[in-house]
């Protein structure tokens, strides 16, 4: 990777992390999603097609990683940008399964660094409360941006960009030293492929923990499951069926209630 590419990717890692300057909607929930991150890395490294192969695989693995704040399992932004970049740097000429295997390794490394830095920035932000309280006590409405944006973002920016630069630079240096792709034994790639497929279960489990509140609701989940396994419908078709059922439920329910209202 060239210096410019490294700087650009490090910058996007910061923008796609939790609580960056562009807001969580544009940052964490858009630039931080593996599908989008892979596309951006692909653009920067001028290989969109390979990047998207990796991006779709990582997106499936990390589908359930959606909560900021609560329990951040791993920093998605780090995992996907570094994962995709690693696959593209080290995986020249590999087929797609091996490429995905490489991405899983680097996403793991990136995710661990990201997790660590998230905890660091979370702790470093604490003293900012004192500054905010000081300004608040003085009634300085026009200075509230100093602790919330200026100082917090200095911490956030340094916590993301500096480690990202180090990881990406050492990756580039390592790729020039040896051909790692040929050094990785076949069984590792096989195991990583299996791991990737099983990891999707973690994402689904986390999503389920938000949605599945009453025991009987398991049948709804199973309905979606068999629509794919027995009826062999595509995801898009199931999504449309889901919307239809949700709309029928919503309006069907409100109509019966209205009727009851008229009776009484």
């Amino acid at each position: 990777m060239t210096t410019l590419q490294i700087i650009l990717i490090a910058l996007f890692i910061y923008l796609g992390s939790i609580g960056s300057i562009v807001g969580n909607t544009i940052g964490w929930y858009t630039l931080g999603r593996p599908l989008v991150a892979a596309f951006i890395v692909g653009l920067i490294m001028q290989d969109v097609q390979s990047a998207m192969i990796v991006g779709i695989a990582l997106q499936i693995m990390y589908m359930g990683n959606v909560t900021p704040g609560g329990a951040v399992a791993w920093d998605l932004s780090y995992a996907t940008y570094i994962g995709t970049a690693g696959a593209l740097v080290f995986g020249k000429g590999l087929d797609s399964t091996e490429l995905i295997g490489m991405a899983v390794i680097f996403a793991g490394i990136g995710g661990l660094v990201g997790q660590l830095m998230w905890n660091v920035s979370y702790a470093l932000n604490l003293p900012l409360n004192r500054i905010a309280q000081k300004y608040a006590a003085q009634g300085e409405t026009r200075k509230m941006w100093i602790p919330n944006v200026a100082l917090a973002q200095t911490i956030g920016f340094l916590c993301r960009v500096v480690p990202a630069l180090i990881v990406l630079t050492s990756m580039t240096a390592a790729s020039q030293q040896a051909d790692f792709a040929s050094l990785i034994p076949g069984w590792v790639t096989t195991a990583l492929g299996i791991f990737g497929g099983m990891m999707a279960a973690l994402g689904m489990g986390i999503i389920l923990s938000f949605l599945w509140k009453k025991q009987y609701q398991i049948v709804i989940f199973l309905a979606g499951f068999i629509l794919v396994t027995y009826f062999e419908l595509s995801m898009m078709a199931v999504a449309v069926i889901g919307v239809i059922i949700a709309v029928l439920y919503f309006y069907g329910f409100s109509n019966t209630e209205n009727r009851e209202g008229i009776k009484s």
Binding site: L35, G69, Q138, N148, S209
Partner: protein, 291 residues
């Protein structure tokens, strides 16, 4: 009343919303969570409503205390608090009311935001965009671009609508919405949609192979030939014959149980999955499924 009633100007409301939309997560920490960001977003409103430094200080201190929500859907809280601060400036509301309302809003808005928007809309939208990307490799960028356009714009509009709704109808509006059961119905409807899609995602993307097979040379009595390398038993085929994708389903439910009921951390679960994957690989090599 001799005093003129105070009103927040549309411009200030917009400024407050945009401050929240862009900077809500900037200074997140364990002490006040999104408190500083909330205070920052409220500061233009406070500046306009109150005249003296003392009043401004009191209002600011009230608004930087602990606050947490799912920020995108939670913009309704900002709207409601803007409305309450306006009443307070007109002496129709006390600071105790504002404090208790804010704390009371944390629970429902986080729950609704997380389950409706974050855990339902995002996976569905990502799934649709992913299918577009998978359909044709030459235009695989289209899914990503579509997501980059649809998600932020859609969320911005929703967030802004909720903010204005909160300001306009205030707490009574939210209460009447919650008590009429409309919100419960919406939550239930979205949960149904979310669960169906999660089920389908599990079936499509989670994999858990069991690479056990027995291969033997078989003597075919009818022709008198020896057939080499016939698969006598394949665990995956057998299980899929009984119930397709049974193992991925069990794995997902197992992970859910450990995460939601036993409170295992995602990192720990990741480790367990890695060990399982290595075990499966080992078994596969042992039975000669992988070479």
């Amino acid at each position: 009343m001799s005093e003129v009633t105070k009103k927040i100007s549309p411009k200030t409301l917009k400024k407050s919303f945009l401050t929240w939309f862009f900077f809500n997560g900037c200074s997140q920490q364990a002490e006040s969570m999104l408190g500083m960001a909330f205070g920052h977003a409220m500061s233009p409103v406070i500046d306009e409503l109150y005249d003296t430094k003392e009043e401004k200080a009191e209002a600011l201190q009230r608004n930087i205390t602990l606050f947490n929500t799912e920020a995108q859907v939670g913009s309704i809280c900002n709207g409601i608090v803007c409305g309450l601060e306006e009443s307070k400036a007109n002496k129709q509301c006390t600071s105790e009311v504002i404090d208790s309302v804010k704390v009371a809003l944390i629970g429902p808005t986080s729950a609704i935001g997380d389950s409706l928007w974050v855990a339902t809309i995002i996976p569905i939208l990502l799934t649709i965009c992913m299918s577009i990307s998978q359909a044709n490799q030459a235009i695989s960028w289209m899914g990503a671009v579509l997501y980059m356009i649809v998600y932020p714009i859609g969320t911005f509009l929703l967030s802004w609508w909720l903010f204005r709704l909160g300001y306009r109808s205030g707490l009574t509006g939210m209460q009447s919405m919650m008590s009429s059961g409309r919100l419960d119905q919406l939550t239930n409807a979205m949960t149904i949609l979310g669960l169906i899609v999660t089920g389908a995602l599990t079936a499509s993307y989670v994999s858990f192979p069991l690479p056990i097979q027995i291969v033997k040379d078989v003597f075919d009595a009818s022709t008198g030939e020896i057939l080499e390398g016939v698969v006598l038993f394949n665990a995956d085929d057998m299980l899929n014959g009984i119930f397709p994708h049974l193992l991925p389903l069990l794995l997902t439910l197992g992970v859910y149980y450990l995460y939601a009921k036993k409170k295992w951390s995602p990192l720990k679960l990741m480790g367990v999955i890695l060990v399982l994957a290595l075990a499966v690989t080992g078994i596969g090599y042992l039975f000669g499924v992988y070479t």
